[in-house]
Structures are given as structure tokens and as C-alpha cells.
Amino acid sequence: DQQVKQNSPSLSVQEGRISILNCDYTNSMFDYFLWYKKYPAEGPTFLISISSIKDKNEDGRFTVFLNKSAKHLSLHIVPSQPGDSAVYFCAATTWYNFNKFYFGSGTKLNVKP
């Protein structure tokens, strides 16, 4: 049973505009969330994370929002750049087993020049 879901397999955005990638989870015990970015033929690389004690975390052009009551998080990229084109994976974990990550199925972002 998939506990982290990314319901949009793909997203296309114009360069300079905002990209919003969404992620839902079912397990209320998850208290730490991460976004990974993956280019073709490479492994996922860490992008940004958020703890459940926060509802927002920002790092440059990337902001992650967490809505615990809705069990939903989103990644905002502003402004989007062609180099952001990649597959983005949402992941979640718990404080009591921090080494086990639960990933979503990914969203392929295409930023058009």
C-alpha cells in the first residue's frame, strides 16, 4: 500500500513562471518530509526538506509547504528555469525509523524556454 502519493505524473511550465508539485501522504506518523530531484541516468539528489513542526521551508527559489491536517505537501519553484526540468520525488519518514524513506512515484517537470 503506497503511503506517499504524487498524483501528477507530469507537469509542463513556461520558463519564469511558478511550478507547483504536489504530494499527499496517508500515514499520520510521518513527521519529516523531503523532496528529491532526479535527472536521467543519475540518482535522486536531495533538494529541500521540512519537519512537521513547521509549515513552510524556503531555500532560494524552492519552497516547501506542509499542511498536516490535509496530509499534503507541495514544492514551489519560482521562477522556474529550464535546468529545473527533472523528475521530482516526494519522500516521508518518521522520527522512530528515520532511516526508512517512503517515496512517491515522482512528477516529471518540463520547463519550456
Binding site: G43, F46, N99, F103
Partner: protein, 111 residues
């Protein structure tokens, strides 16, 4: 500093054959993880080593899969005998404290 490396990058085998995947973690990282992504689906946790000990192998699909990490350095994941549903990309990751660093993956195709 070298990243996580995996070998081979691709492997095509026939159903019933044996395949061994190798992962070299970042030097000094005690934690090593194996994950698998079946076509278009989620990246699924398989198991976690701390040095040479299996800390959590709850994600291993069945007893056709055997992971080892002798000496607490590199790790191997053997699939014997391989089945069609074993096809996918196998990722290895390593960490010292927080944050997992992933290798490029091994794409396994079972025909």
C-alpha cells in the same frame, strides 16, 4: 569526494538466471540502503545496513533476494533466480547521519 557508485549500470538477463549488483558507498558512511523503482512507480525501500549488519530488511520482496555487506564497506544484492517482475532500477544510497546520497542506479531487465 567520490559519490555512491553502482555496478553495472545496466544488466539484461533471462528469467531464471542470477544477477549480482554492487554498490560502493561514500567512504566513511556507515549506513547503506537499497531501493528499487519498478517502471513509473514509487522508489521502494528494500533494506538498510549499519556497517555490516542488516538493520531493517522489511522491504525485501522475497527470499530470492540476498543482500550482503561484508566488512562494512561495499554491498552486493543478488537476485537468484530472477523473475520478470524483478525488472526495474535498483538504487543504492549511503549516509553518515542525516541525508541519504544516492547512486545512479542499476537498470535490471529480466526477459
Amino acid at each position: 569526494e567520490a559519490g555512491v557508485t553502482q555496478f553495472p549500470s545496466h544488466s539484461v538477463i533471462e528469467k531464471g538466471q542470477t544477477v549480482t549488483l554492487r554498490c560502493d558507498p561514500i567512504s566513511g558512511h556507515d549506513n547503506l540502503y537499497w531501493y528499487r523503482r519498478v517502471m513509473g512507480k514509487e522508489i521502494k525501500f528494500l533494506l538498510h545496513f549499519v556497517k555490516e549488519s542488516k538493520q531493517d530488511e522489511s522491504g525485501m520482496p522475497n527470499n530470492r533476494f540476498l543482500a550482503e555487506r561484508t566488512g562494512g564497506t561495499y554491498s552486493t544484492l543478488k537476485v537468484q533466480p530472477a523473475e520478470l517482475e524483478d525488472s526495474g532500477v535498483y538504487f543504492c544510497a549511503s549516509s553518515q547521519s542525516t541525508g541519504q546520497y544516492f547512486g545512479p542506479g542499476t537498470r535490471l531487465t529480466v526477459t
